[in-house]
């Protein structure tokens, strides 16, 4: 067993390990996962031995994109529509298998669980590998998932450790739950396991931590079909401490902007986006009347491709009304439920 830090490893080395029936422990967008090549019987057997998983219980797989998904599962137009809403993200969707992966991964109903993770590392890995890899959490059957390599290895007897070929160590992962499992083969969508993000028709999300709020922000951003022909404007409402700046950080992280801080004091900060575009992060907390809003001259940022995000958007109701024609508006309402629970409602 080899343990290599994530910043030291080459993706090609992981692919090599996977090709040789290797069992790889790797970080994902949820928990540490166990990766083997999904089509290789030997690797999959090793995985099942490792997990003590009862035979007949399905194991889901990571695919890199929708194209790869279509190669391995049967999709109806309706399912395709739902999936493009959900993925990439922390969801496992259950679909009818095309039987191109090891039969040990499929359920008794010949379905297969598939994930497109919100995780650049896993996606790059699967893409380079060219075939799906397993996406099961790195714990023994019936035990809780692991958020650090130390915690995983600490619980394993030597015989189990011997089965692992390579461990990619990314330190402690944020405490995200495992993915939400959704069965799309049933006539009505069935939720098999609740993960971090709950979906519903009204676009209401529940967040249990700042990390989850960021994730929801990223998820929403990806889901908005936006053609970049207009600026994109987020209007955030919600009381103090509800996580508005955290939401802004989530959007910023999509563009590798990691230094977002509260703009309350100066009203707004601007950040560079690719292609000379701007991300404007504004906070209207200190705004006293609408004439002040006009003086801040946000209209000069209203160019296609720019993203504007207003905290305390309720203090400038007029913005939404005035912008409807020239911008795509996303209303985000954030509510405090409990100390570690927020409700986030999206409208667009």
């Amino acid at each position: 067993m080899q343990i290599i830090p994530i910043d030291k490893i080459q993706i090609s080395d992981i692919v090599k390990a996977l090709k040789g029936n290797g069992l790889v422990v790797a970080p994902s967008d949820t928990v540490y996962g166990l990766l083997v090549t999904a089509a290789q019987q030997k690797g999959v057997e090793k995985l099942i031995r490792f997990k003590n998983r009862p035979p007949g219980k399905a194991i889901s797989v990571f695919v890199a994109d929708f194209k790869m998904m279509e190669e391995y599962a049967v999709l109806s137009d309706r399912q395709r529509k739902i999936i493009t809403e959900l993925l990439p993200g922390p969801f496992t969707v259950i679909l009818k298998s095309k039987h191109k992966v090891s039969v040990l991964l499929e359920s008794e109903k010949q379905t297969l669980g598939l994930r497109i993770p919100d995780d650049a590392f896993i996606v790059a890995l699967v893409k380079q590998h060219g075939v799906p890899v397993t996406a099961t959490s790195a714990n023994l059957a019936g035990q809780p998932p692991h958020y650090s390599v130390a915690s995983l290895l600490g619980t394993l007897p030597q015989v189990k450790k011997d089965l692992i070929d390579l461990v990619i160590d990314a330190g402690k992962l944020p405490r995200h739950k495992p993915s939400t499992v959704i069965d799309l083969t049933a006539p009505e969508i069935k939720l098999l396991r609740k993960g971090d993000i709950l979906v519903s028709a009204s676009k209401v999300f529940r967040s249990a931590s700042p990390a989850e709020t960021k994730k929801i922000a990223r998820y929403i951003f990806r889901k908005i079909s936006h053609d970049q022909q207009t600026p994109l404007v987020f209007i955030l409402k919600g009381e103090m401490g509800v996580g508005k700046t955290v939401f802004a950080k989530g959007i910023g992280e999509l563009f590798a902007i990691r230094k977002i801080i509260s703009p309350t004091y100066v009203m707004y900060y601007e950040y560079d986006l690719p292609g000379k575009k701007k991300f404007v992060h504004a906070d209207l907390y200190n705004l006293e009347d609408p004439s002040e809003f006009r003086q801040l001259q946000f209209e000069r940022y209203l160019v296609p491709g720019n993203i504007l995000l207003f905290e305390w958007g309720e203090r400038a109701r007029a913005i939404a009304a005035g912008l409807k024609k020239s911008a795509k508006i996303i209303m985000v309402e954030m509510k405090y439920c409990r100390e570690n629970e927020r409700e986030i409602t999206i409208g667009y």
Partner: protein, 350 residues
């Protein structure tokens, strides 16, 4: 060496004329407003554009500096050596006004331009002298610079003139911002610092409520004040109304204790990690007496020296500190290119 300095990074339109570390004249627009009783409240950034104030502010510092510099043919700016301006961090549209004015004057009077990081200014605010060169004292590098204001909270290693290394900063809200928000919640206006400090003192700086101290136990020099703000907000909301009024001093005191405990812990850690014992403290929160006495005790304990802005106005945004920082840039021949100089709203130390 005479320098005209301009700072328009946030809500103050500020200018100063400095000579080395000495201030010859300084002005910022909010002070003028208060003096003239045009309202008494601090005007927000948006209410009056810096554009409306900048010419007046520059004219005023020139008029006031005429005691020290003899104008040439009625124009004092002809006798100025360099023009310094803040180019970040700050509000984009505000910074632009100062930069535009600085460029305009640089062209008109054929002067070289010096661009200054506003936070660099806050560091040098501890070394600004009055027109008679008080307080005296030389630099003894290196220093740990603690910068706490409404917009920033960071710890910087100040190795030598113009040599800075950021050791840690806030991940979310600035210390001053958290204090302002708590004060507003308790029913006090902007800026909230003095109100919180006064209430806390009346409560004997007690810590009845033990609010969370975010990141106090971590081994980094990063701050986070957002969680404290959130905890305070929801705790306050949950109180019965009479309690909110009755316990206002205790609430303010406990809140201030939480903020200062984190700041102090991080400074202890910074001294440990770097071995640097001399400390400078800048930004609005550096006006807090409780913070000052706690940091003085720390400096004494480690046998270091500690410096605060020597005059109250230097804790807030001002241009005198920009002029002094610019002086050391001029000495090192670090000038800005007139054609390339632009605002950098999120400018920060490396």
């Amino acid at each position: 060496m005479y320098i005209l300095a301009i700072d328009t990074s946030a809500d103050e339109t500020a200018a100063a004329i400095t000579s080395g570390r000495k201030i010859l004249s300084y002005i910022s627009y909010t002070q003028i407003l208060q003096h003239r009783e045009w309202g008494g409240i601090v005007p927000s950034i948006a209410k009056r554009a810096h554009e409306e104030r900048i010419d007046f502010v520059v004219a005023e510092v020139c008029r006031k500096a005429a005691r020290y510099i003899k104008p040439q043919g009625g124009e004092l700016l002809k006798k100025i050596d360099y023009i310094a301006v803040t180019h970040g961090p700050g509000l984009a549209i505000a910074l632009e006004v100062g930069i535009k004015k600085a460029k305009e004057l640089a062209i008109k009077y054929e002067k070289k331009l010096i661009s200054v990081n506003h936070m660099e200014g806050h560091i040098y605010s501890c070394f600004v002298q009055n027109s008679r060169g008080k307080p005296a004292g030389e630099f003894q590098f290196p220093y740990l610079a603690l910068l706490l204001s409404g917009g920033h909270s960071e710890i910087v290693l100040f190795e030598d003139h113009l040599r800075y290394k950021k050791l840690g900063e806030t991940r979310d809200d600035a210390a001053g911002e958290a204090i302002d928000k708590a004060a507003r919640l308790l029913g006090f206006g902007y800026p909230g610092g003095p109100a919180i400090e006064k209430l806390a003192k009346e409560a004997g700086d007690k810590d009845d409520y033990k609010f969370p101290r975010p990141m106090i136990g971590t081994n980094t020099l990063e701050f986070s004040f957002s969680g404290l703000k959130t905890a305070f907000y929801y705790f306050f909301k949950s109180l019965p109304d009479e309690e909110k009024t009755k316990k206002v001093r205790e609430l303010a005191s406990s809140f201030q204790q939480a903020v200062l405990a984190v700041v102090l812990a991080k400074m202890v850690l910074a001294v440990e990690q770097t071995g640097v014992k001399n400390i400078v403290v800048g930004g609005g929160v550096s006006a807090n007496h409780r913070l000052r006495s706690q940091l003085r005790a720390l400096a004494k304990k480690v046998n270091g020296r500690i410096f605060f802005p020597p005059y109250p106005f230097l804790t807030g945004d001002n241009a005198a500190m920009i002029g002094v920082a610019a002086y050391y840039k001029a000495q090192a021949n670090v000038f800005a290119d007139l054609n390339l100089l632009d605002r950098i709203p999120r400018l920060s130390f490396a």
